[in-house]
Symmetry: D2
Subunit: 192 residues, 4 copies
């Protein structure tokens, strides 16, 4: 069956950027997915996060929302490769593409374009109490917008945030040399 | 049942230092524990890693080796708190304390004192092919010793290593301020 | 004597938080202070940055603006301790306290309270072409505000920004263990 | 004249890897160069560190030791470009190439191949009391060797070490995105 932490190389990815394993795992841990959860994965990219979420929710369902055509195709192929049947690909742009989905227990926001506040409005309205929204923020502006939203809605959400920086050691002859991976912020809101 | 990623606050810890949630999760991911695995947790501390490992191996068994008396007691209490029955506490010092354990599929080395090479000799002899040894290294010397061992035994092990640095954002009035957590290296050897 | 990089311990500091040596040095490098420059140090704290700036501008002058009474006293004492005569302490709050100062070649903003945009308006109006404003940002909100300002005034400023994270190795018996220092962003605007 | 912190782009560099400005500056600060100092720059690469050291020691002299022919040529060209006359290029390999140099007040070790202990023996014998040796370590093995040497010679040296990680923000449209630079350790020994 598996457990968390599929290797990056195992996913079909094309040229779509993919969240690294370590970040994917920490994001999923913050998401606190239960076996029967309904999960939205907004800006699903290659579907690597969606596939792992689907395995964490075997009696639940994951909706992978992606506007990019190549991404939509990659998600479908990764769903097939990993044999997860509880994963639906939704081609379209958030927040519009979220309207017809069932309410969720967990929302993961990987990519938001410039629509983050509107996406969070929709998530806020549709996330069940006790559920989590987890955002991966690679830009200062997205991080600031995520925090601003959660602070402005403090009656609905509590939040925590971490920055994660990973250096991978590379063997070069007799030496191990650190190769830096770009850092990322993981912002988690818990619906009250 | 649960899944990975119990909150730090959920564990009983006393004054024994405890691996932070994010590091615990990444260590467990690198360990690639299967449901039926036998796991050694060497230098188990509070047992936080052992408890999570036991939940990842519900049909397997975890042996938590710890020389410190307070640690041994904390592991027992956390085992009880989280209701994991497949976890045995072994009071004693590695590598001696490892001799009577059944062979393992996974070995996690959290604390090694100065005995790392001898502990790795024992693990190397008793780890099943395809199994993983994962070391958390918080000192330069332990990191260097771990890499030196794995390089010297390259016919038996392939390896990878990452440094993880987490900054936690703390809300202070209208601001979110980064508070750094000490970085750690996670070194993983895969038995050939 | 001289040169950049006075040790932290050399400064008189009381309970006022002080920028660490490594950050102080990198900030001063980004400031590109010339020997005859007029420098504003806004939110000067203990005056550690002001003292070093004054030594980099022996034929220039540094104005250390600080609203906190304890800070004002510490700056005066550090000025005396390091024997820098080209440093004036200005008690008051920016931007008001900046009005009566001579125009500047360099502005360093260590602390801004919530007045950053207004402080930057004043700096923008009074900084000479080719001069630099350097901000130390320890919160996400200050960083975002600094970048937003510089982006909104792109006809006046070009900018660069770095995040700096330092881990200090501490000897503990036979081991060297990393102790993390909280990270900081250094944002630099160059007046066109 | 200048002061610390020449921009990376200002140096002629070819394909020789060059220490980044921020690391160069922090290394020079740890070196505590005085105006009349004799400085050895071992493994000088492009000479960027040597040029800055030469400017910090206008009445002293810098010896840039480099075994790579392209490097030797680059150092000579950068010496000319920045008009520093107190800088001598020494083609050869340390420690042999150090034998004929005058004793030093400061030694900077950027590249050491696998000869670090022998190079440190020579530096230890020839560094004046109160002088500093500063090493840039990009591999775990070099870091461990540097610390091991300084610990084994604790009657001769006190030491400190930091790890520096810089993320550079890159503007991408309306966003600023962190781009990680590989981390480095700076190890400093002070001769007793």
């Amino acid at each position: 069956m598996g457990g968390l932490g599929i290797e990056d190389e195992a996913f079909i990815r094309g040229k779509v950027p993919m969240t690294k394993q370590e970040i994917r795992v920490l994001t999923l841990v913050k998401a606190r997915i239960s076996p029967t959860d309904t999960v939205w994965d907004v800006g699903a990219g290659t579907g690597s996060m969606s596939v792992e979420a689907a395995r964490l929710a075997p009696q639940g369902h994951v909706y992978a929302v992606e506007r990019n055509t190549e991404g939509v195709s990659l998600i479908a192929r990764n769903r097939e490769k990993f044999g997860v049947s509880n994963l639906t690909v939704v081609e379209g742009e958030a927040p519009e593409a979220l309207k017809d989905l069932p309410d969720c227990d967990v929302a993961i926001v990987g990519g938001s374009g410039s629509h983050l506040p509107k996406i969070l409005d929709e998530i806020s309205a549709r996330l069940k109490p006790g559920g989590h929204v987890v955002m991966n923020c690679i830009t200062v502006q997205t991080l600031a917008a995520a925090l601003e939203y959660l602070r402005a809605h403090e009656t609905e959400f509590s939040y925590e945030a971490i920055q994660v920086q990973i250096n991978r050691l590379q063997a070069v002859g007799a030496y191990d040399m650190a190769k830096a991976i770009n850092p990322i912020y993981i912002v988690t809101g818990e619906k009250k």
